[in-house]
Each structure stands twice: as C-alpha cells, then as structure tokens.
Amino acid sequence: MEEKKDEVVVEHKKKIVVVPGELITDERKKLGQHVFIENGKVYSDTLGLSYPSSSVAYVVPLSGRYLPQRDDLIIGIVERLTMKGAMVNINSIYSCYLSADSVRDKLELGTIVSAKVDSVNETNEADLFDTRVFFGGEIISVTPSKVPRMVGKNGSMLSVLKEGTGCNLLVGRNGWVWAKDGDTAKLVKALRLIEKEAHFDNLTVKVEAFLKGKKVK
C-alpha cells in the first residue's frame, strides 16, 4: 500500500476499463491500489481504469469512497467533541480523532480543518498530523478519485483554477475542496467540468478556456 500512484504519467498512456475480478497482469510488478493477488496473478478489486504499460499494477476506481493513504492532504470537519479533542469527519468510512493539544485554535462543531495522514491501519482508520484550522469559506464535494486531475501536473490545474476564479483554494485528497473569496460559483462549475471529463487529455487547456469564458467543445 506504500506505493503512491503516479499522477503524472497517467495522462498519455493507454487505459482500459476493468471490472472487479478482471486480470490486470500475470507479470511480476509493483502493486498499487485496488488490486489483489491470486495464484501469482494480479486482479482488480473494483470497477475502474487500468494502465497496462505502467510498471506498477494498479486500478483507478471510477467512483467510490475515499480510503486514506499516508501523506495525503485532506480536509475534515469536526463532527463530535470529546473530552480531550474532537472526532473529525474526513469523508471516509471512519472518522479520525484529533487531540485538542495538536491545534492552537479551539475546535467546535463544524470547524473545518486540514491535515496530513500520518499512518493508516489495516481497517483504514487514519492518524492525522500537521493540522490547521480554517475560518470561513465553504466546502465543495467532488469525486475523490478525480482529485489528482484537479491538482494536475505539479499543481498546474490548481494554479489555473486559482487564477481563473480568484479563490483561495485547498483541494483535499478526500474529495472535499475548501474555497474562500472569489467566484466560488464559477469554481464549482469548473470542478464539475473536470469531474465530467477527467478521463480526457489536455484538460488544463480546456479548463483554462472555460474559465476565460470561451466555449468548450
């Protein structure tokens, strides 16, 4: 699970749609996400896209819940207060515990925080570190599996979005986008466009044209 999927190489490779149980490869390869091994062969465990020419055997799911991975930058919302901290909803299957000592600001119900995932156990519960508290702004939900395209190569898409909408922006890997100031209505439209066309190439050019008000084919 340590192997992070390579967001950069993905774009220009041949990709095929796989269903759960479909053979990904019978060669020896590094294992990525959403695959399992049976009798020495690698199979997909989800409906998604696989990249046969990649040196890593992995599947990018078309949809589904976010599963935390180490070093992911995520956005969470405080959903319950406990004695010495708070439970944070991170749009995953489990909430995370956040100690009140780890942040300077007071945690309240509905407080928006960003954090990095420190470690993940076998049941996909995550520990957080590097927590920051956000004031104001709003949360936009997107499909977690489409988040890499919203960041782009070296953050290229992110800078296009920031420039085009004037928003302060933080894209969480868990499918929540925090945005403040600027034209958030336009940002939502741009994010929906990325979600819809995430499997096409040259998306940054398209989104740039969209944000400048040109017609997108």
Partner: protein
Amino acid sequence: MENILWNVKTDKVLSLIKEGKRADERKLDEYRSISITKNISENADGSAKVKLGDTEVYAGVKMMPGTPYPDNPDQGTISVGAELMPLASPEFEVGPPREKAIELARVVDRCIRESKTVDFKSLCVREGELVWIVFIDTYVSNYDGNAFDATSIAALAALNLVQIPKLEDDKIVKGEYTGKLKISKQPLLSTVAKIGGKLVSDPTLVEEKAMEARFSCGTVDDTIMCAFQKGEAGSFTVEEIDECIDRSFKNSKEIRKLV
C-alpha cells in the same frame, strides 16, 4: 446519523438566499428538472419512476380484492405506503417506518384521497362483500430533498397507468385486465420551504436542513385545493401562505403537463 457536511453547507445556503439566490442558481420559485419513466415494473398494475433533481422515487400500484369497511360497504379504498430506503440517505435506517416516512405517506395519501380522483364507489365489486383496494407503494431510493413532491408525482404517474385485473371466482387472473382505472383528476403536491424569512420552492436536502418551516399544498387543477401540510417549528404569516398557494397552483400546472 447526520452528515456534518450538510450543516456546514447550510451557512452558505442561508447567506445566498438572503440575497435572493440559490446554490444551484435556480430562482426561488423554480423547480429542479423532472423526469418521469413510466411502466418500470412488470408485476405492478401501474408503475412509474420519478427523478426530481437528484431525488429519486419509485411508485407501484397494485389492485387487490378485499372486504370493505363496515361503515362504507359499497366503497373500495386506497392505501398509500412510503418507504425511505437506507440506501437513499445516511439518515434513514431499516426497520419500522419512522416519523418522516409516516408523514410522507399520510400527506401523499391525503392529497390523492381528498381530491376524489378515484371514485371509491366504482371500486365496489359486491356490496358489503368484495371491493377493490388500491395499494400505492412508493420507495424513495435517493434523497436530495423534497420527497413530498417527488412521491406525489410518482404516485399520480403510476395511478394514471393502472389497469384493473380480471376477477374470476373472486381471485385475480394474472396477466389479464378488464380495463383502465378511471382517474378523474390530477392531484399534485407542491412544497415551499421558508428559509431565512424567504419562501423557496422545491428545497434540496441542504436547503431542508436550513429551513425554518415547510408548507405543502395539494392542488387538483388550476382552481381547487385538496390538501395542506405544514411542517417544522417555524411559522408563516397569512400573506406567506397566500404566496405559497399561488406558487403551488403555478408549479403544479407545469408538472401536470408531464405526468
């Protein structure tokens, strides 16, 4: 369980509505897009699926022979059931229906029953012994607010398609029908929510979280009302109720063309 994200989003909804705008850029009295798929079930006598934005409702109508109520020996009856499926929302759970599902079924039932769209006397087979009972079962399979209107549209669309099964020795002959059930009127519910002091038609899930009060009005045609329901803790002024009713007539008129 309640999703904390909805509560975070209500602030945005409130601030937008105070400016007279909505998060999905609709007008305050505008509905989401409605799509109706008819005859989705082979076994039901009439069925329909309705999508109101992201809210999705299935309705099926089954006619069953049964004994009449003692006080109305020459009348058949209808029965509306509503189920909020757990897959529709994290708030809904399996088990006996809760307050929300019971209210939904009762309000939709009231709208159809009080409009007198189904002539109960025509459902009588033998007085005092055998009548038709029309079961209208609805299932909310995805919940994004305003289940009242979606369920009422689905129930009416399904009712319009109902065929009366053939009876032989007081039992139904499967697959054979004697004709269509006569539906004389087209009753529809239209819901208005009061959010931040403003009236908003067809509230979404997040708007429902932000609303103070809700008012549903059932209309039979362009002039006659047949049912009301007011929900939540907030209040309406007399002028606001008038405005709600006007909107119900206007919106239901549009929807009636689709059903």
